[in-house]
Amino acid sequence: MPATFRFPKAIEGYVEQVPMFLTPIRQPDPKQVQVLAKVFKVEGEVVDEGAMYSIRGKDFILHQFHASDSMRWVSRMHEAKSDTKALKITNPKELQAIADRFLAAQKLSDQRASFSQVVFGQAEISGAGAEKPRTMNTCAYVNYTYLLAGLPLLGPGAKIQVVIGYDGQVIGCYRFWREVKKGRLTKKTLPVLDVQKAFQECPNFAQLKTGSRVIVERARQGYLTLPPSDFQGALIPVIELRGFVSTRAIERTSFIRYLVAIDYTDEELKRYSVFNKHFRGTCRVI
């Protein structure tokens, strides 16, 4: 094999057996977005936008997705865009407390989700000519991630975010989630060496020439979740690998790859949505 591979010492959270969580199909119902509208104290016509119901007002938007139990609310849209004002609250703990209170008040708190990080929204304004750009934090994104059976839910489909504007007021949030049903089924996770071998044999690396390096900086086990607009048959046990590739032509290209962590039958592959286009590129061992 021309390229050399380097793996971290361990896969974070690796367990030999994983419980399967099914995610039953959901019946879209416009009443649900109306209930949500009451919680957020907004009014308007419910419009079916294909992947979601939405209620749109002059200064807000509310989305309720059809394929999952996911929602998004954005408020004060004009105000939030009106200027680049510096964020007044910069203490992450204070920001988290604001977000926690907001989620509780809007009935969006979830015991399966826990605080993960505060990311500051930045604005950089270029000067005229060669003047140095001016940079400031303008808002804060308070993020929460989900955990099931001790494993993190990875990908875009299970997370909560609260956006706090420059003045400390909440200006948006989303909760991406799909209700799960724990079945009796547990699956055996592939042995670590098989995971490494499967990764090395991914077609993505087949063309790398001698001297190329593939460095996996982080590997962790979890369940992969699909975008909130897509149906998903089950949460997919995966190993997430993050790292970079270095070749003579391009010094560094980063990757985030998901390796299916268990063996599936062909029938399971379809039923659990592993053939979803979001998974294309996911390497698999059969």
């Binding site: 303008t138 032509a249 391009i250 979001h278 294309r280």
Partner: protein, 217 residues
């Protein structure tokens, strides 16, 4: 006047980098979904760095953006970080900001769906390319090999949302919270922050000051 759309994507890097899987779906999902006139869809060995570069700039100065990237209202690239291509036999295989100048032709919006396209110094790095361009969309961090972000972005654009919201929402729906989106819009003399794809006209903005925003997906 109907708006024009162009996309370029790369999955096959011929060993220059690891291959990708979903950039055809990603770019073509955008191309097929977005309302407008479809002008070009070049992938793999047909996608060239010179298609994004200004004629007469860089070494070699082989740019031909007037026929491609600067001949459409919106151009979408999907591939490896910054704007890296699978073939390097037309120029050097990378469309560098120093070799690009968009908007002195028709282009108003550039989408760079690749890792770290706006990793730092967003306005400093990309300011030279704004020769009429109104906005650019990309990522501050690494991003996954998504097959459907382009289509989601196009759906929101068609629905008449502000373009930055459309990009943020498409990124939220395809990445985890550790990923950061980015976009640059013109601030003066024209503020393009409120642009919508469904707006009838989006004139070029000359000598703009720029504002770069980033946030968590």
């Amino acid at each position: 006047m109907p708006k024009r759309i162009g996309v370029e994507w790369v999955n096959n890097y011929h060993g220059r980098a690891d291959d990708l899987k979903n950039n055809d779906n990603n770019a073509e999902g955008f191309y097929n979904k977005l309302s407008g006139v479809k002008i070009f869809d070049y992938g793999d060995d047909s996608a060239w760095d010179t298609d994004f570069e200004q004629s007469g700039t860089g070494t070699p100065s082989s740019g031909s953006d007037t026929a491609y990237a600067d001949n459409v209202d919106i151009v979408f690239f999907s591939g490896h970080g910054w704007i890296s291509f699978g073939v390097a036999n037309h120029d050097n295989g990378t469309a560098a900001p120093s070799e690009m100048a968009l908007g002195n032709g028709r282009c108003r919006y550039l989408v760079v769906d690749s890792c770290e396209s706006m990793s730092d110094a967003g306005t400093s790095r990309w300011k030279p390319i704004f020769k009429g361009l109104r906005a650019m969309f990309g990522f501050r961090t690494n991003t996954s090999d998504s097959g459907d972000r382009g289509e989601k972005f196009a759906k929101y654009l068609n629905a008449g949302h502000w373009m930055d919201d459309a990009w943020k929402w498409a990124c939220q729906e395809t990445e985890d919270g550790s990923c950061q989106w980015g976009y640059i819009h013109t601030a003066t003399p024209t503020n393009s922050w409120f642009d919508k794809w469904t707006d009838p006209t989006n004139p070029a903005v000359s000598n703009p000051t720029l504002c770069f925003h980033s946030g968590s997906c």
